[in-house]
């Protein structure tokens, strides 16, 4: 029963997000709308954690299972990838390294600034 209740809450939330997503004048993933909605409901304690906990944990723990069927359909796109394989590999490698570097640098600088501000507060 518990699982059915939790699943009902989560699926209802997904359905509402899908409606919101369709009504929006721009394209925005319904999953992300639902994620924001659930986060808001949890933070405001309108939905208690134990009302969704088990189902959410099950879904996130087995996340890759749910995109297995979508990935299998890639066979229908093999030609597209084969044709551009080298540029795709270069793009993935370069952008992944760049993203890592820029993020690490930004966080390091922010951490230094935050520590300095907090240090001043503690000194004062």
């Amino acid at each position: 029963m518990k699982i059915v209740k939790q699943l009902a809450i989560l699926l209802l939330l997904c359905f509402i997000s899908e409606i919101i997503s369709k009504l929006l004048p721009f394209t925005f993933p319904s999953g992300v709308i639902g994620m924001l909605l659930l986060l808001l409901l949890l933070l405001t304690k309108i939905i208690p954690v134990n009302a969704v906990e088990d189902v959410c944990t099950f879904l996130t723990k087995n996340l890759s299972l749910f995109f297995l069927p979508a990935t299998v359909q890639i066979v229908e796109q093999f030609d597209v990838i084969k044709e551009h394989l080298l540029p795709i590999i270069i793009i993935i490698m370069v952008s992944t390294m760049l993203t890592f570097g820029v993020t690490a640098l930004t966080v390091t600088l922010c951490m230094k600034a935050q520590n300095r501000i907090r240090g001043k507060k503690n000194a004062a």
Partner: protein, 226 residues
């Protein structure tokens, strides 16, 4: 004859679950990001389909039932962010600004390189969200006019690459701050990278998993302006 059985929704369902479980088991046995559970399962499912000449529609009659849980799984990520709210509060600005800078860099560099290699619009939109977690990347790709199934492959490829090179990049760029190590790994290589950076410490793991959600969120907002 065989088709009478494989066209049942139970065929695709059972096949997916079985091979997914095998992939998870194999990944635990052989501890390397190269043996990714999803990758193992996809290769096995495709092999079965091709050996027995089973049409994709047959597999998808069960597969689509599993795929229907993609949106709920994305929504469920809210609980992971909620559970990390204390850590997020303590490092709010470093995390959010870091994820934002990383997401912009990821999408910007992909866009520029796609232009450089003269890749078409569809492929560009397919590649753009490749650094964020799969369910979010798929819906962004779909919204922009990309090919979601190819996006999944790019996302998994990026994750595996991240898990392999992030520990090296941490040494190379001399990233000493544990928060920076975690956020950078999560932003560029989502959950697969996170599983690796967890080995460095608890704070790194927590920061990396927060970064998955935040970077996914920010990337879908940035995609609005494309």
């Amino acid at each position: 004859m065989l088709h009478d059985f494989t066209s049942s929704a139970l065929f695709g369902l059972a096949l997916s679950l079985l091979f997914y479980l095998f992939g998870v088991w194999l990944n635990k046995k052989i501890k390397t990001p190269l043996v990714n559970p999803l990758l193992v399962a996809v290769v096995l499912v495709l092999s079965i389909l091709s050996i027995f000449d089973i049409p994709m529609e047959d597999f998808m009659s069960g597969g689509s039932i599993i795929a229907a849980f993609l949106t709920p799984a994305t929504v469920a990520l809210a609980l992971s962010i909620y559970n990390q709210r204390k850590t997020l509060k303590a490092y709010f600005f470093p995390v959010v600004l870091g994820c934002f800078a990383g997401s912009v860099t990821s999408m910007g560099s992909i866009y520029l390189m796609c232009r450089l290699f003269k890749l078409d619009e569809t492929l560009t939109m397919t590649l753009l969200p490749k650094s964020v977690t799969t369910p979010i990347a798929m819906s962004i790709s779909e919204g922009l006019g990309g090919i979601p199934s190819v996006t999944v492959a790019m996302v998994v490829g990026t994750g595996i690459l991240g898990a392999l090179i992030c520990p090296i990049l941490i040494q190379l760029f001399e990233v000493k701050d544990p928060v920076a190590q975690g956020v950078a790994t999560g932003t560029c290589s989502h959950a697969i990278g996170t599983s690796k950076v967890m080995e460095l410490g608890e704070l790194q793991g927590a920061m990396s998993s927060i970064a998955i959600g935040i970077a996914g969120l920010l990337t879908s907002f940035i995609a609005l302006f494309l």
